[in-house]
Subunit: 214 residues, 2 copies
């Protein structure tokens, strides 16, 4: 498999965690989505991803998948063990609920095209995005109380944790103190003890190293 | 089950389609999310949904679920027949990909709190939202070509169609001509021949009737 992605993209990062957790090897193909570079808007990439977003996963037979949540579900079906969803149907739904709180409730408001839109409209993009992030993570902290264990839902990592870790990293970039969400901060710490979460970290990707992130 | 929802909310509408398609009976509990009313921001509702969003599905045992995509997956596991996902793993992923293109790629930019933010910032909320919708539906039209049949992925309705129908309705509210996306328009027509899509339509819900939508 090939993963077209960008080191700091949180949607890319989620897929990297899942691939690593399930032990699936892949080729890393960097796509520089910074507006000044815009490799994602080139015709070649647009043909495989009309939304011009990362990540895109290209399977061994050349077929392509995008949208990080759809890719997570695909990987879960392809390689069910180790699982990133609880066994209980209700808890599976709760894990997906927390993941979607990030995926559709927070991330769309912090991505680069949205920030540009805020900025073009005369809004302070950093402040607007930070407000969305803080509101979403506050709701996540509240929602997660009911079923948290060592991780957000029980004692094994799930889609919820896969979405949490990149989101907390983004929160820090928007100068939010994640200590205000003690459960989320504690779970992040538990995640970062796992090798899959370590190897998938933004700062450890080849394009991050090239950009001088480390 | 009880579904806390709002007639015109596209996330609510998706869940209504899935419940109807699978023949699951439920009690309709209207939540008026219009900013001037804000029943979703009342303490009672916030306790069950800290994001103060609709829908929330309350199960027979009182447990709650939110986030429409998580609810769709839950219903698919609870009542697998008739299915809203293809049998083939890759096509399942494609259905979810198109659904997420709407769920995280379009809908967040047209919901009421976002429109208010655009407006407060001096942007034209209707124009900004219409731009996001047109960009997303254009990408959906392109992405769906590869696997469309009578519906967006093959010849049976899937999560993709469940998300499409409310989204096209929203596009019209933002004064977009959906005929510019001929595949999407054709699939919508096929969906609207099915009783589940008919009964779930916004205009046919009790709070819509009360509001004079019909």
């Amino acid at each position: 498999m090939k993963l077209y992605n960008y080191w700091r993209s949180s949607a890319s990062w989620r897929v990297r965690i899942a691939l690593a957790y399930k032990g699936i090897a892949y080729e890393y193909v960097p796509v520089n989505i910074l507006p000044a570079v815009g490799e994602n808007r080139a015709d070649g990439y647009r043909a495989i991803n009309p939304m011009t977003q990362v990540p895109t996963l290209v399977l061994d037979d050349g077929r392509q998948l995008s949208q990080s949540m759809a890719i997570l579900e695909y990987l879960e079906e392809l390689a069910p063990k180790p699982s990133l969803l609880p066994a209980d149907p209700y808890l599976r739904a709760r894990a997906r609920q927390l993941a979607e709180l990030v995926n559709s409730g927070i991330q769309p408001f912090q991505n680069l095209p949205t920030l540009k839109l805020f900025s073009d409209g005369g809004l302070d993009p950093k402040k607007v995005a930070a407000d969305f992030i803080a509101r979403g993570l506050g709701a996540m902290e509240a929602s997660a109380q009911a079923h948290a264990g060592a991780f957000l839902v029980g004692d094994q990592p799930s889609f919820a944790d896969v979405c949490l870790v990149p989101q907390l990293n983004a929160a820090r970039r928007f100068e939010l103190d994640v200590a205000q969400w003690p459960l989320l901060a504690r779970v992040e710490e538990a995640c970062m003890k796992l090798s899959a979460f370590q190897s998938a970290h933004a700062d450890r990707q080849p394009d991050a190293v090239a950009a001088g992130a480390k």
